[in-house]
Amino acid sequence: MPKRLLTLAVNGRRHEIAADGHALLVDVLRDALGLTGTKQGCDGGECGACTVLVDGAPRLACLTLAASVEGRAIETIEGLARSGRMSALQQAFHERLGTQCGFCTPGMIMAAEALLRRTPHPDEAEIREALAGNLCRCTGYVKIIESVRAAAEARP
């Protein structure tokens, strides 16, 4: 099957990629663009580790056809740090141990990022709802909630 030229806007940069029509966003990000921060932890849509933002909304890159998000603003974990400074969420997850093994972390942070953009000062219930699709096997989620709270307080 012939490849098609996809134009994807990832972390503010335009990329032209020759990809199969049936390529998944997660594979394009990881294999074609080298953005391996987006993880895959299940066989499709069960764990949330591949969560990225598409036009600011959380999406599962493992269920998203790359061709379906042409022209949309795609953001991955690699795009959060600005001028070498970690984002408030990254800083908080680091300092408060919202991450242990780190594998669910990029997806978790992206889901939390989507939340804070919509709801800058979420209560605990809102945090739980926003992260409900992201499984973590290490933390028991306690310090993840603390991290999101701390980031919300730290954000301007």
């Binding site: 069960e46 990254q90 141990l97 991450t99 290490c138 028991g140």
Partner: protein
């Protein structure tokens, strides 16, 4: 530039203390920025795609595997079978009965049969489909009872009755103990099989250099050293031909504490294809690889005095082990060893049976061997407390160990903070004021647990120290910690850096950790049985002390005083009582003079008295330091839907000394929560040997939505052998959750459930069975509709 002047112009930085401070992970920035490279992320250049062909049959004789058609396909570079390996493997040297790819027989559905390497995924898939397999089916055994039945077909010819290991242990006079008891109660408990569910998928990248005949393997392992040995054994290579590297690992929880078939398969594929092969497994394949906690049936009888004192214990444990040995014999031994060693008990009789079945092999999972027996033991204590009218806390306090103490089964206890743990959670939870007063549907339950800080005897006994750490200090004045300890998210690299920084009173910024590359770092047995903090921590401590001695001597020499005259302050040191001072860079320069790069080694081994007794299997359970934990769980129970909601957990963990309180809290919370998953919702299931829940929808790891606040109190009992007094913190908190939950449910609705998980369907069934029973009893008593007091409600 040489520092000739030994007096400083600017004020020296004060000494830095790292131990006891809440320290973010040294590799945390990589994790939160997405820069951390896990095995599947490594930029190792082009690789072939590996795939495993798996048995559709649960038990059968392999008649033929024909790869002719597959090998003729475009892009297919290699097809291998069990015949391509030199030897079987198994993590325990005396039970090596597994081949990386099945040979002769298959013993479970999903067992690797053959593997392919191809230029891309499509070619690999096509190759998988083109391999012809002929298997003659044999009768399959899916339960321990079927496998133990007389006349059952044997999975392994040398294992009569399909018993992998039968354990018989007797300590003290059990009959006399029961005779002396005021209450003897016997119950049966069942725990479903559970799996690790680490979020990172399994993956291995293997690179064979045909010109040099060398193999480099990057893999998701917790035990790179065992993997190294096993690769050599199964591939018939010399160890020196192999290099094993563990990159970032996305959790383990025991799934990866033994070398796993896919790791050897990737290596053999790379050799067969003369190149690099990347083998990534699906989530389903993770459940087929399994090595989780076995389904367990426990019959338990305890004798107790009115005071709560335990006079005797009689237990029989049957574990459905799956098709191969793995860690199985250790699991059944742990179940016996840690069943009773938490308390002072009068006498013990233990019978354990590890049974082979045609299911994916079980193995070690967080809290190895001790979780399901703890559920039984603590549940029965709770029930007996109620019968005797004793508070569950009183029963625990009646049986506390006072260190130093030698348990009945010859385990050495040098520190025990369980009493403080009990006090802490009793108070934090408001137990005395609140228990029994929360109203119908809400309840509190408690339980205790303990775990080892590393198995006192390593799996492979080579006579070497149990842990080795190298420190390198060079012209750059940075210290590199070289360790084979596998950081799998538990924070071991951070802890080792802290230990070294503390001894030298230096800031963490001076310390780098290079870990788990067999070409660079000293051998380490791996991250299992919570051994790293204790053992590798001790080795790091000794290495840092050694380095400090070298530095102090160099400073003394330079300032022409005796080493004892040097007051070491980290970033600087001075001659005690004077203002003669050198900064760290000057000291390093002085130390490097004549010798060059400094390399200092620290080692540690468990003292012989902590290595257990002389009876068969005595080594399992032995450790240099036991952690202790107590927890209280509060639940609300919906009696119409069977839904249990965990409102809050209070846990106190005796970790000896919290080297990094932030990380210890995180470990304890994670352990407690994993216990919650097992207690409430997690369960593997099989349909004629096929896993029904081989995904994260049907294997129900708790989400953030229903996960409770977990309040942690750290108890510091200062273990005499632990580094700075530290003991383990990653496992011991798990075991007490399931029994505390069952006790809380009983407190809430008066119903005692002795099966895990307490999933809504199971609980509702029990609630309805009780209703039927009550109705029946009321009818028999001639009082239809009358309220019958619930047997177990106080």
């Amino acid at each position: 530039m040489r520092h000739e002047d030994v007096s400083l112009r600017r004020a020296p930085a004060p000494p830095t203390h790292s131990i006891g401070s809440r320290t973010p992970l040294v590799d945390g920035i990589e994790k939160v920025t997405g820069r951390a490279r896990y095995t599947a992320d490594l930029p190792l250049g082009p690789t072939l795609v590996g795939r495993i062909g798996r048995s559709p049959v649960a038990h059968g004789v392999i008649r033929r595997i024909d790869a002719t058609r597959a090998l003729a396909l475009p892009g297919v570079r290699a097809v291998i079978t069990g015949e391509d390996f030199a030897a079987p493997y198994g993590v325990i040297p005396i039970s090596q009965n597994e081949w990386p790819l099945a040979r002769g027989k298959v013993r479970y559905r999903g067992e690797p049969l053959f593997a392919v390497a191809a230029e891309d995924e499509a070619a690999a898939e096509a190759a998988l489909a083109a391999v012809a397999v002929d298997i003659e089916p044999l009768p399959a055994l899916f339960t321990a009872a079927e496998a133990r039945a007389p006349g059952a077909p044997l999975l392994h010819e040398n294992k009569p009755g399909n018993i992998e290991r039968e354990v018989e242990q007797d300590f003290g006079d059990v009959a006399a103990g029961f005779a002396a008891a005021d209450l003897v109660l016997e119950r049966r408990y069942e725990c479903a099989e559970v799996a690790h569910g680490q979020i990172e998928l399994n993956a291995t990248v293997a690179h064979w250099e045909p010109e040099r005949e060398r193999l480099t393997v990057h893999s998701v392992t917790q035990v790179p050293y065992y993997l190294h040995l096993t690769l050599a054994q199964t591939l018939g290579l010399d160890s020196s031909q192999i290099r094993v590297v563990k990159p970032f690992v996305g959790g383990g929880f025991g799934h990866r504490v033994e070398p796993l078939n896919f790791e050897m398969v990737a290596a053999a594929l790379a050799r067969a294809a003369s190149g690099a092969v990347k083998l990534e497994l699906t989530r389903e394949e993770g459940f087929l690889t399994h090595r989780g906690r076995p389904a367990t049936e426990t019959r338990l009888k305890i004798g107790m005095k009115r005071s709560g004192e335990i006079t005797a214990v009689d237990a029989e444990v049957v574990q459905r082990g799956g098709a191969y040995g793995g860690y199985g014999l250790v699991t059944i031994l742990y179940a016996g060893a840690l069943l009773h060693a938490l308390y002072k008990v009068g006498a013990v009789r233990y019978r354990g049976y590890r049974v082979y079945t045609n299911l994916p092999p079980c193995g070690a999972m967080r809290g190895h061997g001790a979780v399901n027996v703890r559920f039984a033991f603590e549940s029965l204590l709770d029930e007996m407390a109620a019968e005797l009218g004793l508070d569950p806390f009183v029963v625990r306090r009646a049986n506390l160990i006072e260190p130093p103490y030698r348990t009945l089964n010859d385990l050495q206890v040098n520190s025990c903070g369980l009493a403080q743990c009990l006090d802490a959670v009793e108070q934090a939870s408001g137990w005395r004021e609140r228990r029994g007063k929360l109203g119908r549907g809400r309840g509190l339950g408690m339980a205790c647990s303990h775990y080892v800080s590393g198995s006192a005897k390593p799996v492979h006994w080579s006579g070497e120290p149990h842990a080795v750490v190298n420190l390198k200090l060079d012209f750059d004045t940075g210290i590199t910690v070289l360790t084979g300890a596998s950081d799998i998210g538990q924070g071991s690299s951070t802890l080792l850096a802290q230990v070294v920084a503390e001894v030298l009173l230096l800031p963490m910024a001076r310390i780098r950790v290079v870990a788990t590359d067999s070409a660079l770092t000293p051998k380490d047995n791996g991250s299992y049985s919570s051994r790293v903090s204790f053992m590798v921590g001790n080795a790091a401590l000794r290495a840092a002390q050694g380095l400090k001695r070298v530095l102090v001597e160099a400073a003394a020499k330079r300032m022409e005083v005796e080493p004892d005259d040097i007051d070491w302050q980290g970033e600087s040191c001075c001659v005690a009582g004077t203002d003669r001072r050198m900064d760290f860079a000057q000291v390093v320069q002085a130390a490097l003079a004549d010798t060059g790069t400094l390399t200092v080694k620290g080692t540690w081994s468990t003292p012989p008295e902590t290595q257990g007794g002389k009876f068969r299997g005595a080594a399992v359970g032995s450790t240099a330091g036991f952690s202790y934990a107590a927890q209280v769980v509060e639940v609300s129970v919906d009696e119409d839907t069977g839904m249990v909601r965990v409102e809050r957990v209070w846990v106190a963990h005796d970790c000896g000394r919290a080297l990094n309180p932030l990380a210890v809290e995180g470990q304890v919370q994670g352990a407690v929560w994993m216990g919650m998953g097992q207690a409430l919702s997690e369960e593997t299931r099989y349909h004629a040997g096929l896993p029904l829940a081989a995904n994260f929808l049907d294997y129900r790891i708790p989400t953030i939505a229903e996960s409770p606040p977990i309040e942690v109190t750290l108890v510091e009992s200062m273990d005499p052998l632990g580094p700075f007094g530290a003991k383990e913190a990653s496992e011991g908190g798990l075991h007490a959750f399931p029994p505390a939950l069952a006790a809380a449910v009983c407190d809430a609705i008066g119903l005692r459930v002795r099966e895990l998980p307490l999933s809504p369907d199971r609980l509702l069934e029990a609630i309805q069975a009780r209703r039927r029973e009550e109705k029946l009893r009321a009818l028999r008593a001639g009082r239809p509709g009358a309220d019958v007091p619930e047997a177990e409600r106080r």
